[in-house]
C-alpha cells in the first residue's frame, strides 16, 4: 500500500507540470495586451513599457515559462491586479467556504446516492428502478444554476424557511442555514450521479460468480448486499466520484453566484470580468492543483478498497 501511495503521489508531479504548461499557454492566448488592459488605452508608451517590464512580459517566452514554473513551485502564485493582495491571500479568504460546500455536497451525495442506487439495483426493472432512473436523470439535466434558482424560489422566497442571501455570521445555526440551500443544490446533483453509477455497478457485481458462491455458503440479506456486493461495487463509484468532481466545481461556481455566497467560483468570475489576468492565472493554478489532489485522493481511496490494485 505504501509503495502504491508513493507511486501515485509521484505520478501527480508530471501531471501537475502538464497542467501548468497548459495554463501558461492559455493565459498567453488571451487576445489583447494585458498592459493596456490594466492601464487603459490612454496610457503612454513609456508607462506601458514600464509595466510590461515589471510584469516580465517583455522577456522571451521560454524565460517567462521557467520563471512561471519557479514561482509556482515556490508558492508565489502572483498578485491580483485589482486588489493588490497575493493570489494565495485571496484564495485563503474564501477557501473555507468552498471546502465546506464541497464536503457537504459530497456527504449528501454519498448518503443518499449509495442507498438509492443499491435499492434500484436490487429491485431491478420494478417501479422503484424506473422511478429512480428517471429521477436521477432529471437531477442530472438541471443546469446547476436552474436547480439553485428553483430551490431559492421554493424555500427562501415562497416558504421563507431559509435565507435568500448568505450573510457573514458567527452563529453556527445561522451558518448552517446559509449552507443549507447551496449544499442541497450541489447535493442533489451529486446524488443523481452517484445513484446512477451505484446502480449500474451493483447490477454488474450482482451477476458475478463470487456472489453465487456467497449465496451457496449461506450468506444472505444485508451481509450479502453490503459485504460482498457493495464493497466490490464501490470501486467504480469511487472513480466516478473523482471524475465528477470537476463538474461539482463548475456547478459550485453557479451556486455561489445564485446564493451570493463567497467562494473560489465567485473569485474566478470576478477575475474574468475585471480582466485580472494575474489573479486568473493564479486561480487556474489553484484549480489545477485541486483537481490533481482529488485525482490522487481518488486513486488512494481506490487502493484502500480494492486490494488487487496495490499489488502490481
Amino acid at each position: 500500500m505504501i509503495r502504491y501511495s508513493v507511486k501515485r503521489l509521484l505520478l501527480a508531479v508530471p501531471t501537475l507540470l502538464a497542467m501548468l504548461t497548459v495554463i501558461f499557454v492559455l493565459a498567453r492566448l488571451v487576445p489583447g495586451d494585458p498592459a493596456i488592459a490594466i492601464l487603459g488605452d490612454q496610457a503612454t508608451q513609456e508607462s506601458l513599457q514600464a509595466l510590461r517590464q515589471q510584469l516580465g512580459l517583455d522577456r522571451p517566452l521560454h524565460e517567462q515559462y521557467v520563471a512561471f514554473l519557479g514561482e509556482v513551485l515556490t508558492g508565489d502564485l502572483g498578485r491580483s491586479m485589482t486588489s493588490g493582495r497575493t493570489v494565495l491571500e485571496e484564495v485563503w479568504q474564501v477557501l473555507p467556504y468552498t471546502l465546506e460546500l464541497t464536503a457537504a455536497a459530497l456527504l449528501i451525495g454519498v448518503l443518499f446516492g449509495l442507498p438509492l442506487g443499491t435499492w434500484a439495483a436490487l429491485r431491478r426493472n420494478a417501479w422503484p428502478d424506473y422511478a429512480g432512473r428517471l429521477i436521477s436523470l432529471t437531477g442530472l439535466s438541471f443546469p446547476g444554476f436552474v436547480s439553485a434558482i428553483l430551490l431559492l424560489l421554493a424555500f427562501a422566497v415562497q416558504l421563507r424557511w431559509l435565507p435568500v442571501m448568505s450573510t457573514a455570521t458567527s452563529d453556527p445555526v445561522d451558518h448552517l442555514r446559509n449552507l443549507a440551500l447551496p449544499a442541497l443544490n450541489l447535493g442533489i446533483i451529486m446524488t443523481a450521479y452517484i445513484t446512477r453509477v451505484t446502480r449500474s455497478s451493483m447490477l454488474s457485481v450482482l451477476g458475478e460468480d463470487y456472489i453465487r458462491t456467497a449465496r451457496a455458503k449461506g450468506v444472505r440479506g444485508g451481509r450479502l448486499v453490503l459485504r460482498h456486493a457493495l464493497r466490490n461495487a464501490l470501486i467504480p463509484v469511487v472513480t466516478v466520484v473523482g471524475l465528477y468532481f470537476g463538474t461539482l466545481i463548475g456547478n459550485s461556481v453557479l451556486t455561489e453566484i445564485v446564493f451570493t455566497r463567497p467562494g473560489l467560483g465567485k473569485l474566478i468570475l470576478g477575475a474574468l470580468t475585471s480582466r485580472d489576468y494575474a489573479l486568473l492565472q493564479g486561480l487556474m493554478v489553484v484549480f489545477a492543483a485541486f483537481i490533481i489532489l482529488v485525482n490522487t485522493l481518488t486513486d488512494l481511496a481506490y487502493g484502500l478498497i480494492d486490494p488487487r490494485v496495490t499489488y502490481d
Binding site: D209, A214, R215, A216, R231, R308
Partner: protein, 329 residues
C-alpha cells in the same frame, strides 16, 4: 436400508425464453446414498449445472423456476422451502463448489475471512475462533505456508490453489453432501489430478457424499461410484461406474465412450457424434436423442421413460430399443 442422503424425484427446472417457459431439466430422479460419489455426466447444455443449482435453490430469481418435482434432504423437501431456511442449509449441511476458481472468490476479502465467514454464519463462533479453524482447513487442503496465506487475497493464489480454498470453504462445516460443479475443468491436467485426489481423501475422512458434475469421462472413472448420464435435460442412463464403462447400454452413452480419446486406442478410431443437441426451445416430443441415434425406430417417436433394467440392479435406462433387447436376453 438407510435413507439416501439426497433423493430427487421428477425434478423439472425451466427457463423463460422470449416470454415462454422451457424445461432445461426434465424428469430428473436420482438418489445419493451416504458416502457415495455420484457423477452426473453430459455435454454442455445438458442441464447438469442447472440441476445442481436447483437442488440448492440457487437458480436466478428472474427468468428461472422449479416447475415440479421434489428434492428431499434430511427429511424435508427443499423445493418451496423459504429462502431463510435454505440459507441455513447452504454451506452447512449441503455445500457447493464451482467451476471457475478465478472468479468465484470475493476479491476484496481475505481468504481466511471468506472461510471463517461460513463458520461464523453457521456456528456463531467469534472471528478469532473461526480464523483458527480456517487455518486448520487450509492446512487440510494442503495450501503451503497456510499460516502466512491466511491473510492473503484471492488474486495472490493460482487457479489450483483457489480451488483448494473453495474446497476448504465448502468443507468448513462438515457437510453431508457436496455438490461439485465441474471443479477441475478450468485447471491444468496435473493440478486436476491433485485436486481430485484431495477430494477423494477428504470425502473419506469427513464421511460425506458427493454429487460430481462433469463432462469428462476420465474424471468419472477416477471419482465415481455411480454415474448418471444426462442428455438434453434428462437422465438417459444410470449405473454403477464399472458397469457403465464395461457395458454401456444407451446409444448416447456408447457414443460418448467412443468419442473419448483413449491412450489404448488409435486416435483414428475417434467417432464424433453427428448432429447437435436440440435447443431448449425446439425439443422433439419423442426421444430427445432419436434424431442422432443409429438405432432409431418408429416407436422412438414416443417419449421413453427411465426404467430400471432388472429389479435391484441399480442400472436404469431410457430407451425403448435397448430395453427391449436387454429383456429379451
Amino acid at each position: 436400508m438407510n435413507e439416501p442422503v439426497l433423493r430427487v424425484e421428477c425434478l423439472q427446472s425451466e427457463f423463460r425464453i422470449g416470454g415462454q417457459w422451457y424445461p432445461a431439466v426434465r424428469d430428473f430422479s436420482l438418489a445419493v446414498e451416504a458416502n457415495e460419489t455420484v457423477a452426473v455426466v453430459g455435454e454442455s447444455g445438458s442441464g447438469k449445472s442447472v440441476t445442481a443449482l436447483s437442488i440448492l435453490g440457487l437458480l436466478p430469481a428472474v427468468g428461472a423456476r422449479i416447475a415440479r418435482g421434489s428434492v428431499v434432504f434430511g427429511g424435508r423437501d427443499l423445493v418451496g422451502l423459504p429462502e431463510a431456511e435454505l440459507a441455513t442449509l447452504r454451506g452447512d449441511a449441503i455445500a457447493m463448489i464451482f467451476q471457475e476458481p478465478m472468479t468465484s472468490l470475493n476479491p476484496t476479502m481475505t481468504v481466511g475471512d471468506q472461510i471463517a465467514e461460513v463458520i461464523r454464519i453457521h456456528r456463531g463462533t467469534s472471528r478469532k475462533t473461526a480464523l483458527s479453524e480456517a487455518l486448520h482447513l487450509l492446512e487440510e487442503v494442503r495450501i503451503p505456508a497456510a499460516r502466512l496465506r491466511l491473510h492473503d487475497y484471492p488474486h495472490q493464489f493460482s487457479g489450483g490453489m483457489r480451488q483448494r480454498v473453495m474446497i476448504a470453504m465448502a468443507l468448513a462445516c462438515r457437510p453431508k453432501l457436496l455438490l461439485a460443479d465441474e471443479p477441475t475443468t478450468a485447471l491444468d491436467v496435473t493440478i486436476q489430478a491433485q485436486v481430485l485426489a484431495l477430494l477423494n481423501e477428504l470425502k473419506q475422512s469427513y464421511g460425506m457424499s458427493i454429487l460430481f458434475i462433469t463432462h469428462n469421462l476420465g474424471v468419472v472413472a477416477q471419482m465415481a461410484d455411480r454415474v448418471a448420464v444426462m442428455y438434453a435435460g434428462e437422465i438417459v442412463e444410470c449405473a454403477p461406474v464399472a458397469e457403465l464403462f464395461a457395458a454401456p447400454l444407451h446409444p448416447y452413452t456408447e457414443a460418448l465412450l467412443q468419442a473419448m480419446p483413449r491412450v489404448d486406442r488409435d486416435s483414428a478410431a475417434l467417432h464424433p457424434i453427428g448432429g447437435q443437441v436440440p435447443p431448449l426451445t425446439a425439443m422433439p416430443p419423442g426421444c430427445a436423442f432419436a434424431p442422432r441415434c443409429p438405432l432409431r425406430q418408429p416407436q422412438c417417436e414416443r417419449h421413453p421413460p427411465l426404467v430400471p433394467l432388472r429389479l435391484g440392479s441399480g442400472h436404469s435406462l431410457r430407451c425403448f430399443v435397448r430395453a427391449a433387447m436387454e429383456s429379451a436376453a
